[in-house]
Symmetry: C3
Subunit: 177 residues, 3 copies
Amino acid sequence: MQDTDLPIAHLVLGGARSGKSRHAEALVRAMPGPWIYIATAEARDAEMLERIARHRHDREPQWRTVEAPRALVAAIAAAPEGAPVLVDCLTLWLTNIMLSDEDVETACRQLTEAVARRRRPLVLVANEVGFGIVPDNALARRFRDHAGLLNQRLAAVVDQVTLVVAGLPLTVKGRDR
Amino acid sequence: MQDTDLPIAHLVLGGARSGKSRHAEALVRAMPGPWIYIATAEARDAEMLERIARHRHDREPQWRTVEAPRALVAAIAAAPEGAPVLVDCLTLWLTNIMLSDEDVETACRQLTEAVARRRRPLVLVANEVGFGIVPDNALARRFRDHAGLLNQRLAAVVDQVTLVVAGLPLTVKGRDR
Amino acid sequence: MQDTDLPIAHLVLGGARSGKSRHAEALVRAMPGPWIYIATAEARDAEMLERIARHRHDREPQWRTVEAPRALVAAIAAAPEGAPVLVDCLTLWLTNIMLSDEDVETACRQLTEAVARRRRPLVLVANEVGFGIVPDNALARRFRDHAGLLNQRLAAVVDQVTLVVAGLPLTVKGRDR
């Protein structure tokens, strides 16, 4: 059972270019600000730099942006008391963890625990990456496994899970189910 | 808000071999004919030729088939007044546009506008391609981005969006939601 | 129409690491035992061996495990009268059939017929693999086609179809729809 005194936590899943980030931002903007945007992207090439810059430009000035390519639990804990937090996205964070020398299992467990004992509203964006053909290379298969398991763990401790399809929300867990 | 005097428009999304085309055809056949089938496939190899031929063979003679690998907006406009139109599929159309020298953004915007101001019932079939691992090559990533954005745009202007899973419809937008 | 005297059959679809197997096992464990677990995995490498071993370790002793990499119809027929059967998973079975010299179409048709005329509760696990970019190689495309068509066929003859997303069930066909 969920402790009903905990602030709401919402996991927003979606494919590439599904509109999941925009949906998640709208969920946060419906709450009183200021809003904390935790960006996990680490610009490794020009394509990503351009993507991150475009995202920033689209966001209103009320957002306070924090960059946390790996230290996500600390960034969530450091957010001002009560301020809603948007984490975009867990899939990039997981990629960063896997490319570092941190232990993936430990990092995922610590994140799940931090989400479970949240002190502020949390909206977490993650990619659903498991609906394709088995990837050719072992690293991609390991990534897919970790991403799927992380999504399962977080889905178990949040209040709501939404799958975004073509910009539209499908409720997987939550109030109307 | 949707102008309720407009004929219905329905976006049918699905994965490969999900039964999305069959579902879309059934939606059109439930309306009075004749029915216009706009095929966007351009046979580039034997595998596709065989696939197109098999599709034709399965269709009843009441269908009038129009081939529009790229000139989709014109083909929709040229359909007889009031006749329901099935477009199968937008993903192949997008591929054809990307392989041509047309501007993808302009083509997608014009298609979205044509769907928004429709004069006849429209059923549009598109693949959902964003639920796998990030593709290795940049062209596939660009395609995946364009396809996802096009699905979002169209989903915003149609009345109903259905995700077909194993031949069965999941309503994402529409009357019963 | 479904013959309502037939024992229930349930198709559980999901992506990689979606929690589909765990969900399917819970469905079977909710029925009186003993339970038959038909494993279709054939250990081809160390990665798979380790995965299979871990699955076994997680399962209670009430399970009776049968290995059926290809002879799935016979394994279902040989299960004790009335005992619920879990098949995990159809995607590996299909892979094994495609790598053998059996005719894939015949094997899929025979499996569908066996599921349609079931004598015991059946829970079937399968991967949804069609939501990504078109695979580069022809074998993967053929596999994706066969997997999608098999899912469609089975979905048509079972009572319930569930799509598992991040460990949570989305009903695609069944009692509450």
